[in-house]
């Protein structure tokens, strides 16, 4: 028994991503088609060369038909995947395992979400008949609970923490401003964000992920076949996934200053990849900054900061483009936007660009002598979430 991982058995040979924005003129089908086109182009292969498909969407459609119909995929398997906001990463994980098992030679995972047809601001859950006792808070309000809890645990003034998380938004907007695919391309300052009206706890709208439509995809094959398709593939070093039990809403031991599922999935991923010192082995990371406090505590849960230190490291600029471990160099959910089913693969797109030296010059990270990238994608709320961690490298071994 064990989580053995599939280190170096599967290669990424193409990643594509469409601009994330309010695509009033594009349907879900358009996003699927444009996302697939970009992904095929990146891999330099045609749709016919793909043997099996995984389609991730949280709420925009159901079943493999939603992908097969618009792309006219004939006679091939298409699995529709859903796992909250980690849907895109989950689609990629399932596809990677299918290659690793030997079942298929070439696979594609595509994530797409059409969020803006709903008519409401923010993301909305689809209705499942219940007894009516379930909590109906927004995700923003749930994640807002981190701030007072974190301040209390580490004896900090809540205003200090509030400013630190605003610096995270400032950083991600700075990076997004240098990304032509991002939804929000305007820089903003932590001071401006702190002055905005609170909508959930201490959080303002600028502490929340952008709500955008979008699609992103990845094509993978066996590692030993990779060079047939691509001169500089990425190799999957680790894929980890943890689904919680909702313990945080049940167990008085949970204190809202950590995301346990994220820590567990990170630990598992590091073990799979053989990483013992993540902050000095990871070159760049894309993490799930759905709300600014999320990114703060993720720095600790992913091992990038010591517990209680993330706020100081953020203020120190450690995770900036020119910092010791750049995080969300593409703007993150905050600035790139968050089309739920596509976000995990959008993160992978940035890792694909950065590790292979293809990121636009204005947001290229400094060569820190490391060759590993990490994506972290979660779904749910503090205390009740799913978490994915993937690690990718340019070299085998």
């Amino acid at each position: 028994m064990g989580s053995n991982g599939i280190k170096d058995r599967v290669a990424i040979i193409g990643v594509g991503c469409v601009p994330f924005t309010e695509h009033w003129e594009k349907s879900l089908d358009d996003l699927i088609i444009d996302g697939a086109k970009a992904t095929y182009a990146s891999a330099g292969i045609s749709q016919d060369e793909v043997d099996a498909f995984w389609f991730g969407t949280s709420q925009s459609a159901a079943s493999g038909l939603a992908m097969g119909g618009p792309l006219k995929i004939h006679g091939k398997p298409i699995s529709r995947v859903e796992n909250y906001c980690a849907t895109g990463s989950e689609a990629m994980r399932q596809a990677a395992y299918a290659v690793a098992s030997g079942a298929y030679d070439v696979v594609m995972a595509l994530g797409a979400e059409k969020v803006k047809d709903g008519g409401y601001q923010g993301l909305n859950a689809f209705p499942i008949p219940t007894d009516g006792t379930q909590r109906t808070l927004t995700a923003a309000a749930m994640f807002a609970m981190i701030l007072p809890a974190y301040a209390e645990k580490y004896g900090l003034d809540v205003d200090e923490i509030r400013y630190a998380v605003a610096k995270i938004a400032e950083k991600n907007h700075f990076n997004g401003a240098r990304n032509p695919l991002a939804q929000f391309r305007r820089e903003t300052s932590a001071e401006q964000i702190c002055q905005m009206a609170a909508v959930a706890g201490r959080l303002s709208v600028f502490d929340c992920a952008g709500v955008a439509d979008g699609a992103a995809g990845v094509i993978m094959c066996r590692a030993e076949d990779a060079l047939e398709y691509c001169d500089d593939p990425l190799y999957i070093k680790a894929l980890s996934f943890v689904a919680g039990t909702g313990a945080g809403s049940l167990d008085p031991d949970y204190d809202y200053t950590t995301l346990s599922e994220c820590k567990w999935s990170a630990d598992d991923a590091y073990a799979q990849a053989g990483i013992t010192d993540p902050r000095n082995e990871i070159a760049v990371a894309g993490v799930h900054d759905c709300f600014t406090p999320t990114e703060l505590v993720l720095m600790e849960d992913l091992g990038f900061s010591n517990p209680g230190d993330a706020w100081r490291d953020v203020l120190n600029g450690d995770f900036n483009l020119d910092g010791r471990l750049p995080v969300n160099t593409d703007g993150g959910l905050k600035s790139f936007g968050h089309p739920v089913g596509a976000s995990g693969l959008r993160m992978l797109y940035e890792i694909w660009l950065q590790l292979r030296g293809q990121a636009p010059k204005e947001r290229t990270i400094a060569d820190n002598g490391r060759s590993l990238g990490l994506t972290h994608n979660l779904g749910g709320y503090p205390g009740e979430m799913v978490s994915f961690v993937g690690i990718y490298g340019t070299e085998l071994g």
């Binding site: 007894d131 009516g132 006792t133 808070l137 309000a141 909508v199 049940l250």
Partner: protein, 471 residues
């Protein structure tokens, strides 16, 4: 001996200063305050809170029947008493009946229970509305009262039923058609004149029935929605002015169906032993009920006394009052309306949804809210005991104010609550101002209506701060 074994009342936390009406509209209102049901309360939830207080005041007494009366039912056709029955976790063999429609149904249910029968919890609840500036708006009140009625074999009787009288007359003084948003009344003088002889007749008959004379009455409280008929005629009954009890009109307002029970509860809670208390209620006739307190009153401690609830409470501004009553429609957050709960899913979880019952794992002792079959700690399967949580206090360990989510009255204040003795659940905080919430605040469960969707009222529990006035 048969009589009242326990009292339980519920006065909503919010109070409208009647002067606010004239300050806004230039007319209407008056002096004093009225109680205002929260946006998440209705006659069923208020009745449930009063019923819980009565049951908590009579530890060890079994309720054999539950009667519920209101002129403002949350549902028609469907019984509302069954929801109260579920919050009290009464056995399925205990009948729950609604007495509805007329204000007089509260007094009628009480009288019927006092005369004979099983140990009966009589619950009356009402919410009084009127158009802005109307007398009903300012003189009405919201609240509920529950009286546990039984023989002294069931439990110590605080106030023995001595007797009474009812006089009935058909006349059109106050009326409302089903679905109507306000009540109509005939010209005021008519009621004043019609009620006068009815009051006298009922009073004379009640004294004859009880074998008492007016001087034997320690406290008489006269209530009625026709305030002028009460005020002009009460002096004609031969009871000294100092023995006319407080009708709570200055602080609570007239709570309609609930009011005779409410003032009776208030009178009993402040009485000494051996006092004759008479309640006279004007509604399509006149009812008089006379009780006499016993020695048991000396050791009686109500769980939520009327007096402390009156002393507590917090103001509500008139704008919010108007929005809560649906008199002014406020722009809601631009979020989807909640979905209706599933009747089947709700029924499977009656114990949780209405009874607030969790489960405790026998091996680890961990409390699971909602109840679970598999333990979070240790993974034991189907090895749990029920844990009733409705009367357990808790502490806020974290909270958030959500201005984005749909609510009938934004913003939503949500708290993660750790209950004494184990158990955590995130719940909405109610009867609270967002800026008074803090980590460490002590809270207690309260039964509320979360929202209404597709004409289905979604009932569940929230928490409210434990106020100093409550035990």
């Amino acid at each position: 001996m048969r009589g009242i074994i326990a009292t339980g009342t519920h006065l909503p936390h919010r109070r409208l200063d009647r002067a606010a009406v004239a300050a806004f509209f230039g007319k209407g209102g008056g002096t004093g305050t009225r109680t205002v049901a929260s946006f998440d309360e209705d006659t069923t939830t208020m009745g449930a809170e009063a019923a819980r207080a009565a049951v908590a005041s009579a530890t060890g007494v079994d309720v054999d029947a539950l009667w519920f009366a209101t002129a403002s039912p949350a549902y028609l056709e469907k019984t509302n008493a069954s929801a109260i029955h579920a919050t009290l976790r009464l056995d399925a063999s205990v009948p729950a009946f609604d007495f509805g429609g007329a204000h007089r149904s509260g007094t009628g249910a009480l009288r019927t229970a006092l005369e004979a029968g099983p140990t009966t919890l009589v619950v009356a609840s009402d919410s009084r509305d009127g158009l802005a500036t109307s007398a009903d708006e300012s003189q009405g009140g919201d609240g509920a009262a529950a009286l546990l009625i039984g023989d002294d074999t069931a439990g110590p009787v605080l106030a023995e039923f001595v007797g009474g009288a009812s006089v009935t007359d058909e006349f059109l003084e106050r009326w409302r058609v089903p679905g109507g948003d306000r009540s109509r009344t005939w010209e005021e003088r008519f009621g004043e004149v019609v009620y006068a002889p009815l009051m006298e007749q009922a009073w004379t008959a009640a004294l004859a029935d009880t074998g008492l004379v007016a001087d034997d009455i320690h406290t008489l409280v006269v209530v009625g929605t026709h305030a002028r008929a009460v005020a002009r005629n009460v002096g004609k009954l031969g009871v000294a002015a100092e023995r006319i009890g407080n009708d709570l009109s200055e602080s609570v307002g007239n709570t309609g169906t609930a009011h005779p029970l409410l003032v009776l509860a208030a009178a009993i809670e402040t009485a000494g032993p051996g006092e004759a208390i008479a309640i006279m209620a004007l509604a399509d006739g006149v009812d008089v009920l006379v009780v006499r307190t016993t020695e048991a009153i000396g050791s009686y401690t109500p769980a939520r006394p009327v007096a402390s609830q009156i002393a507590g409470g917090a103001p509500i501004d008139y704008a919010k009052f108007l929005s809560w009553r649906g008199m002014v429609a406020i722009e809601p957050p631009n979020r989807p309306l909640p979905n209706r709960p599933s009747a089947a899913a709700a029924h499977r979880r009656d114990d949780w949804k209405f009874g607030f019952v969790g489960s405790r794992d026998r091996s680890s002792g961990m409390v699971h809210l909602p109840p679970a079959r598999v333990s979070e700690k240790g993974g034991a399967v189907d090895d749990m005991d029920e844990v009733p949580m409705a009367d357990v206090h808790g502490t806020v360990v974290s909270f958030t104010v959500d201005k984005l989510v749909y609510s009938p009255s934004p913003p939503v204040v949500f708290a993660v609550v750790d209950f004494d003795g184990g158990g955590r659940v995130p719940l909405e905080l109610t009867d609270v101002d967002a800026d008074e919430v803090e980590v460490g605040m002590r809270v207690e469960p309260t039964f509320r209506r979360l929202f209404t969707a597709d004409e289905i009222h979604n009932y569940f529990w929230k928490v409210r701060p434990v106020r100093g006035a409550d035990r």
